[in-house]
Structures are given as structure tokens and as C-alpha cells.
Homo-oligomer: 281 residues x 2
């Protein structure tokens, strides 16, 4: 297990952590602090412009550790599916242009007024399979992120690491490096099979490790995630399991926090992330 107090260079920031700042400012602030990588969201990159984003990353010597996100596969009509497919390919194109090491895949939930969870999961399977074909032409790895079961209806019907890995094994049995998972401790910390599934995933399948904390009480199901150390997740233990596979990538802080961290000055947020990275993660 890496000694983070001696290795500040593995800290990365998902830009959703700093919703109070535009992408330009996040890149600059990370660059000034020596934070070497970010994971931006496609909407923000489109808003900023591809060329300008690339230039900012270059100017501040900040790399991408990932790109958010493609997916949201279950739809109600073929027209929606075609539009979605085009959008997802565009997301991958942007990720390629910015030299992202991979794109995060969030499955999507039930189509509106549907109760067919098995059908939604079949759509996810087919959607990932199809997008994977395109991703291979770009040499762009896809990282399926299982989301907490409380999002099964409205955000993602891939809800456990086991389920995500089953899908990886089905679509990429050779473990080619084209398909893997993003492990976000917020989504998986509760899972009684977590350690076994992390070991099963191994280094070949774990493309990203996301960090935040589970607050008690949690006041909002989406936007009340905690800073590392403020909740109940034994983050260091979880990181130990992940690093025991040989994972040596970035540790990416992603905190959705509408009532707390998004209300603070972005510099305070980044400084706190850096401090907790050293002491809690």
C-alpha cells in the first residue's frame, strides 16, 4: 500500500467536487497546487471548448485521469437510442482528443414510467457492447462505474461491483484492457462481497478509484456526500484492498455536496482534499 504522505502525485480531482468554479479555474488551481490530474465532465468541456480545454491543461501541466461520462443507455424509443449513441460517441471523441486514459460509463436507470429492470439491464448490456466496438477503434478504455443501489431507478441499474464485473467478463472475456470498472467507495463500501470482487477484478479491470465519504445522516440521496474522513467509510482499508491488486493509479476525489462543499470557497475545498488525502485516504 502506497504511503500517500510521501506521494502527493496520486491525488486527482473530479471537477464535480468544485461545482462553484468553472473548468478554467479548476485547472489553474490544480496546476498551481501541483495536483497533476483531473476528471472533467463532458458538458463543462463543451462549454469551455475543446481547444481551450486542451490548452489550459497544457499550460498548467494537468493531465486527465478520466472523462465523465458516457452511458445512460436505457431509453424508450429507437429515436432516443440513435441520438444517445451519437452523443456517447462524441463523448469518446472528446476524451480521445484530450488524451484521457478512459471514459467512465454510468449505466442509466429505468426509462420513464417503466418498471422493467431486467429490460433496462439488457439495454445496458447491448449499449456497452456497441459503444465498446467504437471505443476500441479509438483505443479508449471504458470504465463501468457501479452506482449505489439507491440509484437503481433513476441513474444506474448496474449496482454492484460483481454485476459490473460480470458484464466485463461477458463483453471482454480476454481482459484485453478495453473494458473495466471505476470503483467509487461511496457506491460500494457497504457491499459484503466487496473485497472478493476487488480481488476478482484485479489490476486489469480496475481503471479508477473514486473517493468521498458516506455521511450519517445522509440528507440528500444525490448531493450530500462527505469529505474523506467526515463519514463512516474506512477509506484506507478500501484503498488497501484496491492497491493489493497492483493498482497504482490516481485516487480521484469526487464529492457531490450541494449544501456544504459547493458552498465554500474552492481553495478551501482543494486544500481540504489535499490534507485529507495525506491523513485519511
Amino acid at each position: 500500500m502506497r504511503d500517500l504522505s510521501q506521494h502527493p502525485e496520486f491525488l486527482a480531482i473530479n471537477t464535480a467536487t468544485l461545482r462553484q468554479w468553472p473548468l478554467e479555474r479548476i485547472i489553474e488551481a490544480c496546476g498551481r497546487r501541483g495536483i497533476r490530474a483531473i476528471a472533467p465532465w463532458h458538458d463543462d468541456v463543451e462549454r469551455t471548448g475543446l481547444a481551450r480545454t486542451r490548452q489550459l491543461l497544457r499550460d498548467w501541466d494537468v493531465a486527465l485521469c478520466g472523462y465523465c461520462r458516457a452511458g445512460l443507455f436505457p431509453v424508450s424509443s429507437e429515436a432516443e437510442r440513435a441520438a444517445l449513441s451519437e452523443h456517447n460517441r462524441r463523448v469518446l471523441d472528446f476524451a480521445r482528443e484530450l488524451e484521457a486514459p478512459g471514459v467512465v460509463i454510468v449505466a442509466g436507470g429505468l426509462p420513464s414510467s417503466s418498471r422493467d429492470l431486467a429490460g433496462a439491464r439488457a439495454q445496458v448490456r447491448d449499449g456497452v457492447a456497441s459503444l465498446l466496438d467504437y471505443a476500441k477503434t479509438l483505443s479508449m478504455p471504458l470504465a463501468i462505474e457501479p452506482l449505489h443501489p439507491m440509484y437503481a431507478a433513476d441513474r444506474a441499474c448496474i449496482n454492484t461491483l460483481e454485476q459490473a464485473l460480470d458484464l466485463c467478463d461477458e463483453l471482454d472475456p480476454a481482459r484485453s484492457g478495453a473494458l473495466g470498472v471505476a470503483v467509487d467507495c461511496y457506491h460500494v463500501w457497504w457491499d459484503p462481497k466487496l473485497d472478493a470482487q476487488i480481488a476478482r477484478a484485479g489490476r486489469e479491470r480496475i481503471f479508477a478509484c473514486h473517493l468521498c465519504d458516506w455521511l450519517v445522516p445522509t440528507r440528500d440521496m444525490l448531493n450530500d456526500r462527505g469529505m474523506m474522513g467526515d463519514g463512516v467509510i474506512d477509506i484506507a482499508r478500501l484503498r488497501g484492498s484496491i492497491e493489493a491488486t497492483g493498482f497504482d493509479g490516481y485516487l480521484e476525489v469526487e464529492i457531490f455536496s450541494s449544501a456544504d462543499w459547493w458552498q465554500r470557497d474552492g481553495n478551501e475545498v482543494l486544500d481540504t482534499c489535499m490534507a485529507r488525502y495525506r491523513t485519511v485516504v
Copy 2:
């Protein structure tokens, strides 16, 4: 699969569905409607008195389909553990006096300021094992209820049917009838392994089936559960899986709904439960 429109007699009411009414009134209202069973909460029975509760149940010809609840095993000290053990035994004694067919076990979450989820789960294992010894002397079955993973920190660290059944298999490998599970569709509907685990459980392990619905959006993690038909759970399909095992017991409505159903007149709640039982469940 049973045709509920022809069989009103399998409807049961968990009294948490009617928090606006005292136990006396719930028993009377169920009796008047021909609802044949309820699952009361121990606190309410203590408040009402054991003898009076028994008399009311007799007067209105209402049986118990279960008794809520024992468990909450993880604690921080031996003193707490001793007090808890005494309380749990008392719950079982009351259930025995009221001729309940079983007692629901809710595991409990992390002890305060603990991040040791594995340790909490070990306490649950030991707690169930110990309580099971006592339950056997009363011939009182225990039904472990896995709770949704969003409650892992503060309510129950048994979070999937698979995990609950693993515990059953460990503590009662003979499938003696002393230990099983309560399957609440709210807690398990999202689980990709649900059908397989229901089949694994079989008739010998499924002691109860709880009904409500998952609302989108869910505004409160504890008390925003929906009336059957108002959410996204395919309840009939889930009931089909459960009844395919041979389960022929009560279908128990349990709705925690502080902002909606608890604000309505109890008669409206019961009438709606009866209507949805016929048409949605």
C-alpha cells in the same frame, strides 16, 4: 401464483403503515374490514399492554403475521450488549405470548463513531446465533430482514438477500425452520441476484413478504416509501418469484411515509392498501 382478486385473506398490515393511529384502532379497523393479520411493533404492544393487545386481537379475530422487531446487534460495550440481549429476549417472549409465527430481525448498523463494518457484521452473526438459541426454546422462528444498502451505516449491515441467506446457512445449515428471511420488496428490488437468491431461499427460508413501492424521486431515505403501484417496483413479478418457491403466506404492507400516507385518514390508507392488493400486488 395466487389470484389475489379471489383471495383477500392473504393481505396483512404492518402497523408502521398507520402511524397516525394507536394499535387499538388499527386492530379494530383491520378486523372490521376482514384483514386477518397484522405485524405490530414491540413498542406499541408494550404501550398498549400485552393482555389488552391479546384481548383486542381475539375480539376482532386478527392474528399476527409477524412481530417487529429484535436485533440491532452491533454495540460499543459489554454493558450495552447485556442490556440488548435482555431486551431482545423480552421481544421474543412477547411474540410468543401473542402467538406470532415469527420475529423480524433487523441487524443494526455501525456502532457510533465506528467504521468497522466487518466487525459490526461479526457482532450481528454472534448476536443472531445467541438469540437463536433462546428462540428455539420458545419455538419462535427468526426472520432476518436484509435492509437496503443505503441503511448499512445506521440501521442494518445485512444488506442483500444473499448475505442474509449465507448467515442462515451458517447458523442453521439443516434448514430447520428456526431461521429464515423476511423479503421486503423495498429493500431488495434492485438486486441483480434477487431471483436466484429467492429460489435459493426456497419455501423453508422465506418467512415473510413485505410490500411497498420505491418512489422516484425518493425525498427521504427512511420515510418516503410509496403505496404499491405508485413507484417503480414490479411487485407482481417479485411476488411471482416468491410464490414460485411455494410461499403461501401473508403479503404484508409496510409503508413508512411521513409526508404522505401518515398524514391521511387511516381508513383511506387501509382502503387503498386493499384496492392495490387486488390490482397491483
